[in-house]
Symmetry: C2
Subunit: 303 residues, 2 copies
């Protein structure tokens, strides 16, 4: 019944006898409770969060539903282990393109040990975390039936520069992403990043909450961005989604906003809106150059 | 002609034979060019900034005017030294209450040396920089003719906790600030923090620019908040001001927003708007409790 998730792009994988999350066919995701208290902290977060009436409904949809915990056979054969039972976000998508973006210009928190802080700081400086306020922790791009998925390895992902990140945010919404060229067409940008139900609007809704909420500080938490390219190509109703995941390092906000998360989120928003503006501009240019009698619509297409 | 500034609340003071800034009677502020290249970096910033057409006029007003540099006798008697010639922001205020707030949850920048980063990080963790995304670097509160100014010493300022910062942001706009009690009345909050020309609106205007500008990253830069309590009490037209100062550690933005400054600024905005909301609520309470037949106006006063 339980199996290794097909579309996991970051974190520990339940392969080669290792410990990792599992999924079932009913849309549930089983995440083994991590040792050294982190698993219990994440479970405690979900419990506190799901009963917290201060969290508005329009924000709650950006978090996976949690169904408590359950004892299950661990994927590494070590026997029964407590697992967090979560909504399998990916299960509703057929060929999902997914990006896991770790938000914040630091992944450590003030209360942590000096050792932990130095370890995180080193990685934050080595990746784009310090410079961009976020880093891509993993991704897969669906290129179509023939080319399948592009899923760069962990080492490649960890070496992404600012330039790479900008280029990946373009390739993520391009019809020619699979060939890995530098001239991504960004043809899906208007329908994925743009529009009233697009990624940008969702990020802005989340941002408005972070400008005000002082309940939680989300350290080392990831934002998943996912969509189904085939649905988009076919004009289907499938909407792009964002979800926050990984809450082992959430601490109380104590009346202060999560300025670390918010700053990084604003940086990501700027990158996404840059891609969207560029794609609109180049659409207008295309319309003009092709001397079509049509006009450019709001979503960047020629009419 | 040149003298030690009367209202300098942070930084090196030109007293006891030490090197520090000087002012004249015509509203100019002379800042000695700091050694190890920092002075030249600050001068270079002002030169680049003042000719940068990408900076809109409504943002330019938040920076002191720079009149170039000038050779002057240094305050420590070491002879002629280059000084940055700036607008003396404080000169237009009679009895200014001033707060110097260093913005950002880190004061170091990625390109700095490991030693410099460790030194900054240590201070950032010791102060409220990491927890709040900003720290108060100095302040003076004018209490009236009799009580004069409250200006805490450097050590006291450096030991401010989150609790202290919140309390000072209340005392800063209270009529009973000089007695240092815990029940600051925040009676000036509606006219200083609130209103269309108040501190909050100015901070929000600056924030909107920081959400978009990718030209500069302002590390270890301060935001001065200043106003003249006597003018406010007398209902004069003197408006509260914010100004950015200290640009020795500004680096190029290279297409990325200054998420470190922006996050800290948003945190400060939340603190200021919390004080404002509280003061409005307590005004309404006062109106109700005093059973006045009046109503509470938008600026929190009873009518």
């Amino acid at each position: 019944m339980l199996k290794v998730p097909e579309h996991q792009v970051a974190g520990h994988l339940a392969i080669d006898g290792k410990l990792g999350p599992l999924v079932d066919d009913s849309g549930r995701f089983y995440k083994p409770l991590q040792g050294d208290g982190r698993g219990n902290k994440e479970l405690a977060f979900y419990e506190s969060f799901s009963s917290d009436t201060r969290v508005p409904d329009h924000i709650r949809k950006y978090f996976p539903v949690c169904y408590g915990s359950q004892l299950l056979e661990a994927s590494n054969g070590s026997g029964l282990l407590h697992h967090l039972v979560l909504q399998d976000i990916v299960s509703s998508h057929r060929n999902p393109s997914i990006m896991d973006v770790k938000i914040g210009s630091r992944t450590w928190y003030p209360e942590a040990s000096d050792n932990y802080i130095q370890k995180c700081l080193e990685k934050d400086r080595r990746t784009t975390t310090v410079s961009l306020g976020f880093r891509i922790a993993g991704l897969q791009l669906y290129g179509g039936k023939e080319s399948g998925y592009w899923r760069p390895g962990r080492k490649e992902v960890q070496s992404f520069t600012v330039y790479n990140v900008r280029s990946i945010l373009r390739r993520f919404v391009s019809s020619n992403s699979s060939i890995g060229n530098e001239n991504s067409d960004c043809s899906f940008a208007p329908s994925i990043y743009g529009g009233s139900a697009g990624i940008l609007e969702q990020l802005l809704e989340l941002k408005a909450w972070f400008e005000d909420q002082t309940i939680y500080h989300f350290h080392s938490c990831s934002l998943l961005i996912l969509f189904d390219k085939e649905s988009v190509s076919k004009g289907s109703a499938s909407v792009p989604e964002i979800k926050l995941i990984d809450f082992a390092h959430v601490v109380e906000g104590k009346g202060v906003i999560d300025h670390n998360f918010l700053g990084g989120l604003c940086s990501l928003i700027k990158f996404v809106s840059d891609v969207l503006s560029d794609s609109k501009e180049s659409s207008i240019k295309d319309c003009v150059e092709s001397e079509k009698p049509g006009i450019c619509t709001d979503n960047g297409n020629c009419q």
